[in-house]
């Protein structure tokens, strides 16, 4: 019997070419990851913008895991919670997955074990994947793995994917492993053939070739950040494994294997230290920064908490160092495999006593690259810790972003570092003397010149660098530090503003909220509810931030944490009255979507008409 899904699915009978989303539900540790990657990449190779969100458990094997793929000819990269097709490979979550299919959508499942469908408005696409694979393959492990490739085959028919693209990818991947490649092709064919025979392919949700990815790449934020560290000339990395930051170091390590080898000796022009914990990682990075290297430590929330004491030392002793906080859902251990923007306040004022730190907020992998480079320049220029606040969604998911560009004219900004020649010109060198009034003093590096020697301490010191317990001397240095940080605001990456004609309403946000807000901005403009949008990229805030807020009403602050931490920082560090900042928050651990924004603002406006 031949099911014709097209008919029973009135709701989506309309052509949805290059504009749909599917979700693949599997069990983690069963090798579906590579199959999903294959799907993503083949669509990307067809020139069609595509986004993948991996919702995995904090577990190694046996628990439910989902992979969401959104195809958007328009190039929208935000997560969407509406799924046209769900590939249900995990019986344990059948009901939940079925419930997630949008009305008129499809549910693809393994009909080796038939199942009664409980929804009228969803079309069930049964494919006996297990049976097909058990017949085709002998080894148990292979049978398991090939089921994944088989559903790719099914989808290639349903979605009209370019099978040559898939073939090329498989060849590139398994070129050397002939046997493995053959099985893959076989499984692919199995799935495709079955679908072609039993269903009216393609479905109204299909992929049609475009040319929108030619100058783009498919990359995750941690990999891009690692590239940034590589290009910035970072030579010391200190880390302790923690999800979702681990892959940043992994990527950096891999790049260094290729680009940081000394030609003849094959020795490394980098030192990557897997420390025993985050306190140690922070200490390593700070020690390296003090010695003159560009050093960084990637971690996540729990690591930042543990690094707090060290962060205060770097602030007060004025040591350049870069910390990456790839944020995950807190507090405490929280949900290690879910995303959030919950460490803003912590990072801004980390450590006891009066402190304030420079923060950078990349919005996507592309910015992870550029802002990582900026982070090292800022850290050395202002001789202070700089935090790059990414998150799990940006860091671990694959995003389509413009190709990364590099200007070979770039040279690191080492800030004020004195060498022998400079010291010749000085009567005596004093570490904490602010000679030109910008709050930044000159430093020297160990081993360079006896005249540059000084004693670095986290205890009270005067502007000459000597130990002090004297009030005025202590205050003088503390006040300069405050000036220094204030001065930094203007040097940070400027906020990005996107305006809409006739908008009075304004939205302020940061980082990973960007994609969803841009999409919502288009939609609401279309609905006659235009808003201007400013994305802050650095803290302390540039004056432009205050001006934007002053110029708009109402102003919504959109962020991914419970307590409105960006709003808090705006209330504390700008002169705008808090009352003018309305909060829109999403903090369940899933990336922000267009829906959160549109519904959120609409509802808010209904409550208190602006």
């Amino acid at each position: 019997m031949r099911v014709d899904p097209g008919l029973s699915a009135a709701a989506v009978a309309t052509d949805r070419t290059n504009d749909f989303a599917l979700k693949i539900a599997t069990v983690n540790g069963t090798g579906s990851a590579s199959a999903n990657g294959l799907l993503m990449q083949s669509i990307f190779r067809m020139g069609v913008p595509v986004t993948g969100k991996n919702l995995f458990p904090s577990n190694i094997q046996g628990l439910p895991t989902w992979y969401e793929i959104r195809v958007s000819g328009e190039g929208y990269t935000a997560r969407t919670p509406e799924f046209d097709l769900i590939v249900a490979m995990n019986a344990a979550t059948y009901n939940r997955d079925l419930a997630d299919v949008r009305p008129g959508g499809w549910l693809l499942y393994d009909s080796t074990w038939p199942w009664e469908l409980a929804r009228e408005d969803v079309t069930l696409l049964g494919v006996p994947l297990a049976r097909l694979c058990n017949e085709a393959f002998a080894a148990p492990r292979e049978r398991l793995l090939m089921k994944n490739i088989a559903y790719v085959g099914v989808l290639s028919a349903l979605l009209d994917l370019d099978r040559d693209a898939i073939a090329t990818l498989l060849t590139q991947q398994y070129g050397r492993k002939k046997a493995l490649m053959d099985s893959n092709f076989q499984a692919l064919e199995l799935g495709h053939a079955y679908a072609a025979e039993h269903f009216a392919c393609p479905l109204p949700i299909r992929v049609a070739p475009l040319d929108k990815t030619a100058d783009r790449i498919l990359i995750d934020g941690n990999t891009a950040a690692a590239l940034g560290c590589l290009y910035a000339g970072a030579t010391v990395a200190a880390w302790y494994p923690i999800t979702p930051a681990t892959s940043l170091t992994d990527a950096f390590t891999a790049f260094c294997k290729q680009y940081r080898r000394e030609p003849d000796t094959n020795k490394a022009r980098v030192c990557i230290v897997q420390a025993e914990d985050e306190l140690s990682a922070a200490g390593v990075a700070i020690g390296a920064g003090w010695a003159g290297a560009r050093a960084f430590a990637p971690t996540s929330g729990p690591g930042i908490s543990l690094m707090s004491e060290f962060v205060g030392l770097a602030y007060y002793a004025e040591i350049p160092v870069v910390f990456f906080d790839v944020q995950r859902t807190g507090p405490s251990t929280g949900m290690p495999t879910r995303t959030q923007q919950g460490d803003l306040l912590l990072c801004a004022y980390a450590s006891h006593g009066d402190t304030k730190h420079i923060l950078l907020f990349p919005a996507d992998p592309e910015e992870c690259f550029y802002l990582s480079v900026a982070a090292f320049d800022l850290a050395e220029r202002f001789q202070t810790p700089v935090f790059v606040l990414s998150d799990l969604d940006i860091g671990m998911n694959d995003w389509v972003v413009p190709r990364l560009r590099w200007d070979d004219a770039y040279r690191p900004d080492r800030g004020k570092v004195l060498g022998p020649a400079d010291l010749d010109r000085l009567e005596t060198f004093y570490r904490y003397l602010d000679v030109d009034g910008d709050g930044i003093c000159a430093r020297t590096l160990p081993g360079v010149d006896p005249r540059g020697a000084y004693f670095t301490r986290g205890s009270g010191h005067n502007k000459l660098g000597a130990y002090t317990e004297d009030a005025p001397d202590y205050v003088e240095v503390m006040d300069r530090l405050a000036r220094k940080l204030t001065g930094a605001a203007a040097a940070l990456p400027a906020p990005v503003v996107r305006e809409m004609p006739g908008a009075r309403m304004g939205v302020v946000s940061l980082g990973g909220c960007n994609a969803a807000i841009l999409e919502a901005q288009d939609e609401m403009a279309g609905r006659g509810m235009p808003f201007d949008y400013m994305r802050v990229r650095g803290f302390p805030f540039a004056s432009a931030v205050e001006e934007f807020i002053a110029a708009h009403d109402p102003v919504f602050v959109i962020e991914q944490n419970r307590d409105g931490q960006l709003r808090s920082l705006l209330a504390l560090e700008t002169d705008v009255s808090k009352a003018r900042l309305r909060s829109l928050k999403n903090y369940g651990g899933l990336p922000l979507s267009r829906v959160h924004v549109v519904d959120g603002i609409t509802r808010a406006l209904e409550e208190v008409p602006a």
Binding site: L218, A275, G287, G292, R405, Y410, G447, R451, G452, Y454
Partner: protein, 351 residues
């Protein structure tokens, strides 16, 4: 480093070393420790060590944590950079500095609280990483700077100034260091400069983590009757098992090997350390034998001192990391950045 070449003759009379520097050139600011503090004697021994080794002051990096002991880097080699970091975390800061610039001579000063209480983890992992540094633990059994509470190295029964006995077993850094794989382990006494100086020299010559536990009485809080880290107690129980004699590279040629009870070990830098066994059939190359011997002595109330264990074959941190010989801080940016072309090319991977 031209400025080192021209000898400084600021103090005529005084004897000068190969660099034309006098001992004064290795001093620091005036000590603010209690008169008679053992730590000051160690500072003096360090000054003599650096002077006699002809080290360019600015090529030394002084690292420490927090405590009276950790204050001492201000009291020697003023022309060297110093880093008084945070309590118990100096090993990680030193690891980072060494990672960045392997060209300097690193000396770390810590205390028993700093290394065995709050810093125990970092201390052990510094050893495991085998970072190339001289690590001096100025061991007085108490937290001096916070007014004399027992530290993790306080011996059972040792009495506090208030007369209360310590009941918890001590963490003895020597067996601990051996247990986690230290390649250079020595113990000495702040009051015995003759023994300490050659050990410090050997420690600097050692490629890797050179651990020196120095019993250093706290005259203010732990030098009283009943204390097991007092001058009196240590003097009387001090038993030297191995006498160290350091022969710098220049003189090495003339150093004759294997004579009687003397074992000569050639260090990575070519200098030679001669170990004269005072306790016969003591083998400083056999971890377990060393441990057994120490414990045995301890049972009869003796503190074995000297260069107790030495293994020059071990790989240091940079060997294991496969880092280039040039200090990373000296690499030109051109050698670090792959450039625009490479970026273009590698992005094919992401398509």
């Amino acid at each position: 480093m031209s400025f080192i070449a021209k000898p400084k003759v600021r103090h005529p009379g005084l004897p000068t070393n190969a660099l034309g520097l006098t001992r004064r050139d290795y001093e620091g600011s005036m000590s603010t420790l209690c008169a008679g503090c053992g730590h000051d004697s160690i500072t003096a021994a360090l000054i003599r060590t650096f002077f006699e080794l002809d080290l360019p002051p600015h090529r030394i990096a002084k690292m420490s944590g927090i405590g009276c002991s950790s204050k001492t880097p201000t009291y020697f080699v003023k022309e060297a950079h110093g880093f008084n970091s945070v309590h118990g975390r100096m090993p990680s800061v030193a690891s980072g500095a060494i990672a960045a610039n392997r060209g300097l001579v690193y000396v770390g000063i810590s205390g028993d609280g700093d290394s065995l209480s709050i810093g125990l983890g970092q201390f052990c992992h510094g050893i495991r990483r085998n970072i190339d540094m001289l690590y001096v633990l100025e061991n007085n059994g108490v937290y001096g700077l916070t007014k004399g509470q027992f530290s993790a190295s306080a011996d059972i029964g040792s009495k506090s100034k208030r007369g209360e006995p310590n009941l918890q077993g001590p963490i003895d850094p020597v067996p601990l260091a051996l247990a986690v794989g230290a390649t250079f382990v020595a113990r000495s006494f702040s009051g015995d400069k003759e023994q300490l100086v050659p050990i410090l020299k050997a420690g600097i010559a050692h490629r890797g983590f050179a651990f020196v536990d120095v019993i250093s009485p706290c005259v203010t809080f732990n030098d009283h009757e009943g204390s097991t880290k007092s001058y009196a107690y240590t003097r009387e129980r001090n038993l030297e098992v191995v006498q160290t004699d350091f022969v710098p590279l220049r003189a090495a040629i003339t150093a004759e090997y294997e004579q009687g009870a003397v074992t000569a070990v050639t260090m990575h830098d070519g200098s030679v350390v001669r170990l004269r066994k005072v306790a016969e059939d003591y083998d400083p190359s056999d971890r377990e034998a060393v441990l057994a011997y120490l414990r045995e002595r301890q049972e009869v109330g003796e503190v074995a001192t000297g260069l107790l264990y030495l293994d020059e074959a071990g790989h240091d941190f940079h060997d294991m990391s496969g880092t280039v010989d040039t200090p990373l801080v000296d690499l030109p940016y051109e050698q670090l950045c792959p450039g625009a072309a490479a970026l273009e090319e590698l992005q094919e991977r992401f398509r």
